[in-house]
């Protein structure tokens, strides 16, 4: 077994890789949150519930409609995004001009209702969802055995994250989006349908959570609590990355996964708290977050 300065390198690399896999989920979820906050100034506490909804939708689709994993990867984010659109249109828009606290409380309430509903219907012990045939098995790396599905998680989430970032920061559509939220009146004067942009953005951000849910279904058991467990960590990540910074959310998500992996190797007991520790330090030294613009 390879060791360096008394460190078991195989063990360390293994943990780092697992950290990167977890980081991929963090990145997907915090990206959705950052888009919604950055463009709409809504703190969406229902993001965790939407992630859970995505996983359950994948499970239900397979169980009752025979929709397989690959189809679910496309259909479920659309369906969850549609739920997000309805939520924006009928729940959030009426209070859009109120204090941000109202939308925060509203989304928190929606999250609790969804979680309670699913616990009532499916119990809390979790549903099994098998890894798709095509991604079973794995490859033996020098330091660990990497299951194919886990490798797929990293690749798929990177592709989705990077293309989202590119779309918002580098394309014309993204420019409309950013301008529409910066100065809605002016944009409307140019003949751009701003409310539609807002609704679609919210739907897209929520759809990302649905996508993460489908990705998570085969590796984490599908259970009503899976979202709330994840949400608090993801919020910490958004705060570390800088509220609303799209690139910051992606990099911090992956980075925090790796930090967590490192902690799991060197001092496992602290692995559940390390992210919050980083958050406290970042807030004290750089209140706008690592990638945030100072107000």
């Amino acid at each position: 077994m390879a060791t360096f300065l008394g460190i078991n390198l195989f063990g360390l690399f293994g943990q780092l890789l697992v950290g990167l896999i977890n980081g991929s989920f963090y990145a997907l979820l915090s990206l959705g949150l950052a888009i919604i906050f950055g463009l709409l100034k809504i703190i969406n506490f229902a993001q965790g519930a939407m992630y859970m909804l995505g996983a359950f939708a994948a499970w239900l689709a397979l169980q009752y409609l025979g929709i397989n994993y690959w189809a679910a990867l496309i259909v479920v984010p659309l369906a969850v995004g549609a739920i997000g659109i309805l939520m924006e249109r009928y729940l959030l828009r009426p209070i859009a001009n109120e204090d941000h606290l109202y939308s925060l409380l509203l989304t928190f309430g929606v999250a609790l209702i969804l979680q309670g509903l699913f616990t009532h219907m499916f119990g809390s012990s979790g549903m099994p969802y098998n890894i798709p045939e095509e991604l079973k098995g794995g490859s033996r790396l020098p330091f660990m055995y990497l299951p194919n599905y886990r490798a797929w998680i990293i690749i798929a989430s990177l592709v989705v994250c990077v293309s989202t970032w590119y779309m918002i920061e580098k394309t014309k559509l993204g420019a409309y989006l950013r301008a529409g939220t910066e100065n809605p009146q002016l944009m409307q004067a140019f003949g751009i349908n701003v409310p539609l942009i807002v609704t679609l953005t919210f739907g897209f951000g929520v759809g990302l959570a649905g996508f993460a849910g489908v990705m998570a279904a085969p590796v984490y058991s599908v259970s009503p609590e899976m979202g709330s467990n994840m949400l608090i960590v993801v919020f910490a990540i958004v705060v570390i990355g800088g509220m609303g910074s799209i690139g910051g959310a992606i990099l911090t998500g992956l980075g925090m996964g790796v930090v967590e992996g490192l902690t799991k190797y060197f001092y496992p007991e602290a692995s559940t708290t390390i992210i919050f520790l980083v958050m406290v330090i970042v807030l004290l030294t750089k209140p706008a977050g690592l990638f945030g613009k100072e107000a």
Partner: protein, 402 residues
Amino acid sequence: MKSMKKSLLTTAMMTAIAASGANAAGLSDDKVKIGVLADMGGVYADICGKGCVEAVKMAVEDFGGTVLGKPIEVVSADDQNKPDVGSAKAREWVESQQVDAVTGLVSSAVTGAVTKVLTDAKKIALISTSASHAFTTKACSPYNAHWTYNVVALANGTVKPMVQAGKKKWFFITADYAFGHALEKVASGVIANNGGEVVGKVRAPLGTTDFSSYVLQAQSSGADVVALANAGSDFVNSLKTAAEFGLTEMVDVAGLLVFTPNAKALDPTIAGGMKLTTGFYWDYDEETRKWSQRFMERTGGAIPAMGQAGAYSATMHYLNAVKAVGTDESDAVMKQMKATQPNDFFARNATLRADGRMVHDMYQVRIKNADERKGENDIFALEKVIKGEEAFGAMLAQCNFK
């Protein structure tokens, strides 16, 4: 005003207690009431839960529904795997609802809290599904009857033969609470006594969804055997992850506590071949099959887990004792329960020892591979019957409640 109300209540209660004391023979409050306390919707819901309630109801019906001419009532509640919730419910039952005995009892942490309440109230705990051996050792009580199995039997049944067969280096993935700690400690003792060593361990919170980092730690530890000192969906998730990361091909993975519903939920290509210890298997012989058939008809097809069969057996033995001594007064009933041998489809070669440990035949079984299975419920192949004395070990002197 409040304190006056309280003292009035106390006086009333004292009077009631005095009255019942004067009338020791016969049934207090004209009925026998059994409470079933279990996790109804969480990680342990499938291994006891509603199935335990049904099993207790079956026992009551088979007994005839009445004892000494008075009705037998069954009540149930969800403890949510939380000791405070469980003990509050138990207190309410014994203090204001005339519950005489509590069964079910799943999470060892909950059972620890509940047995304290029951012992203070001098009510009987018929523990069906908890694993910790504390209830007949360091937390023993004259009112505890621990049915089905415990961590000592699991360690002796599963760990010992493996160490003796040359698997010397062990790594533990342990559920991080009372049950996991107890199981890990007892199993570590068995490993050391048989010339093996524990090369590492990691503790995962109850209800962990992603075991991959724990599995990797196990992988880089150089162990011969990775022992899963957890249960329920924790066991299922950790074994699935172990298989995903190729751990099951590199080393032996030993499930120390496996209930049939969990074994059934696993793909045979992952779980097939694993040896484990159980207190009951539905397909053992004609008697077990007959009872299990009835159970399945009532619960919608789920095969009984060992704790569910144990809850039936314990309830039956309790009711028989109440009938024999003609009272539901706990000391007399407990004495009778220990004086007679439990004997039914579940309890084979059984005695309820003075410390409250129900010693009976345990079974070493192997999870069948896909090609051996004749149906969806054909899960275990019997390897060996382990004698009760061999499985449960000796009684502690300080727990000898004669």
